[in-house]
């Protein structure tokens, strides 16, 4: 085997995390981006810039603040407790929540810009053909903004795979639970185990390519859609 069992475990965990975060953000970010792009109030779109603010903080610092908020004395921690939910720090769910917050702009910004360029006409046509707004979203707006979705998915997925500052703080580096591959590579480098680090890094790249290329292949397949006469 090229990698230690721990590294394999970390890799699988990474894929699980990145997939969970990307899918969750797709579900959450799409309506948000839609609202930001199409709300008639002139400054709504500017609000969109605010979702990018968490990015401005260094990951581990953001992680630290999240740890405070999610801890037993933090707002979120108390809320979770009041709702009889498990505490988030040092759990996979905590990682998901933290990564979502940090990767949110990578999902929202490209989608927002794609939705802004869409225009009303396609949706109007869909409505005259009996499509409800939701139906029209899926059958018209989504295919027509596919390049934007691809950009959003690629950025979110790749960023979640590579991010480890926030993850480290919230996750506590627990093997099999919160120790993702990015942390493992980092640990290898810190321990001066350069060979192990390079192998894991190479395999992370490979996996990411394997995940991203099919997404893109699908897009290439439909490339002509985005061309106008």
């Amino acid at each position: 085997m090229l990698l230690s069992p721990d590294d394999w475990q970390a890799l699988l965990l990474t894929l699980k995390l990145a997939t969970t975060v990307t899918v969750s953000l797709l579900l959450l970010g799409t309506p948000l981006a839609w609202w930001l792009a199409r709300n008639p109030w002139k400054w709504t779109r500017t609000l969109g810039a605010l979702v990018a603010l968490p990015l401005v903080l260094p990951p581990s610092v953001l992680g630290f603040y999240l740890l405070l908020f999610m801890g037993p004395d933090g707002v979120i921690g108390k809320l979770m407790h009041a709702l009889h939910l498990a505490a988030l720090p040092f759990t996979f769910n905590g990682l998901v929540v933290a990564s979502m917050l940090y990767s949110l702009p990578f999902m929202v910004q490209p989608l927002q810009s794609a939705f802004e360029s869409l225009g009303n006409r396609p949706l109007e046509v869909a409505a005259t053909l009996r499509a409800s707004p939701l139906d029209a979203f899926f059958t018209v707006a989504l295919p027509l903004t596919l390049p934007g979705f691809m950009a959003a998915i690629v950025l979110t997925f790749a960023h979640t795979v590579g991010e480890f500052g926030v993850v480290l703080m919230i996750g506590g580096n627990l093997p099999g639970i919160t120790q993702v591959a990015s942390v493992s590579v980092f640990d290898h480098v810190q321990s001066l185990e350069y060979h192990a680090a390079s192998r894991l890094a190479a395999i992370m790249l490979l996996f990411s390519v394997l995940v991203l290329i099919p997404v893109y292949g699908w897009r290439a397949h439909r490339e002509q859609h985005s061309q106008h006469d």
């Binding site: 999610m70 921690g77 505490a87 506590g172 640990d187």
Partner: protein, 225 residues
């Protein structure tokens, strides 16, 4: 090394008293990073590490301008800001009320490695291992405890006695018989060649005034070992 931060701040202050014209910049970070950076020509003159192995590796790589000099031994404590740690021992960590115990990453942080050794030596490893959460370094380990997410942490004595933490919580000193000695060392790098200030600084460290500051922050001096 983050455990040195507070002691070093005092030392530099004193040193500047003696050498008013000297400008000294300190950079704190992980030994692994510094090792890589120095091998790639980083403009650092003195490299302090909580783990003597990193300066030694640098010496092997031929990037040093002096022998590796041990300056202190670090000590490990149990620390908490929510429970009275001074009344605890390693055995109390098995208490089910304690859900998470913060330690530094044993893969590369010396405090983490010694913490694991101590837990083994105390015979509580198998019970507490599932409760451990790993900070990347000793600062993060402390943050886990400070934020209340871990009830107790195994951190550096130098941090526990520092002005930042002394008022916040109490500690119990882990007997140094439970782990191998944590030898800390420094080395002058290639870059220090032709910089007399670097030599002056390390000379000051060995002076009684310098040594007193190490002691104040809970370090054991090499000759006391």
């Amino acid at each position: 090394a983050a455990d040195l931060k507070f002691a070093m701040a005092d030392i530099i202050q004193d040193f500047k008293h003696a050498h008013p014209d000297a400008t000294i910049n300190t950079v704190y970070g992980s030994s692994g990073n510094f090792y890589t950076q120095i091998t790639q020509g980083a403009p650092y003159d003195v490299f302090f590490s909580a783990d003597v192995r990193y300066p030694k590796r640098l010496e092997q790589a031929g990037k040093t301008a002096s022998p590796v000099v041990p300056y202190a031994f670090g000590r490990l404590v149990l620390w908490s800001n929510s429970i009275d740690a001074s009344k605890m021992t390693l055995a109390s960590l098995t208490n089910p009320a304690i859900q998470h115990i913060a330690v530094a990453n044993p893969k590369h942080a010396p405090y983490g490695q010694r913490a694991v050794e101590a837990l083994h030596a105390a015979g509580v490893w198998s019970q507490v291992a599932p409760k451990l959460v790993y900070g990347e370094n000793i600062s993060q380990t402390t943050e886990f405890v400070q934020s209340g997410n871990a009830q107790v942490g195994l951190i550096a004595l130098s941090l526990a006695v520092s002005p930042k933490l002394a008022s916040q919580g109490k500690y119990w000193l882990i007997p140094d018989t439970l782990h191998s000695p944590m030898e800390q060392a420094y080395v002058l790098t290639d870059h220090a060649k032709g910089n007399p200030l670097a030599q002056q600084f390390v000379t000051y460290l060995a002076s009684p005034a310098g040594q007193a500051i190490f002691v104040k922050y809970g370090f054991t001096l090499p000759d006391k070992q």
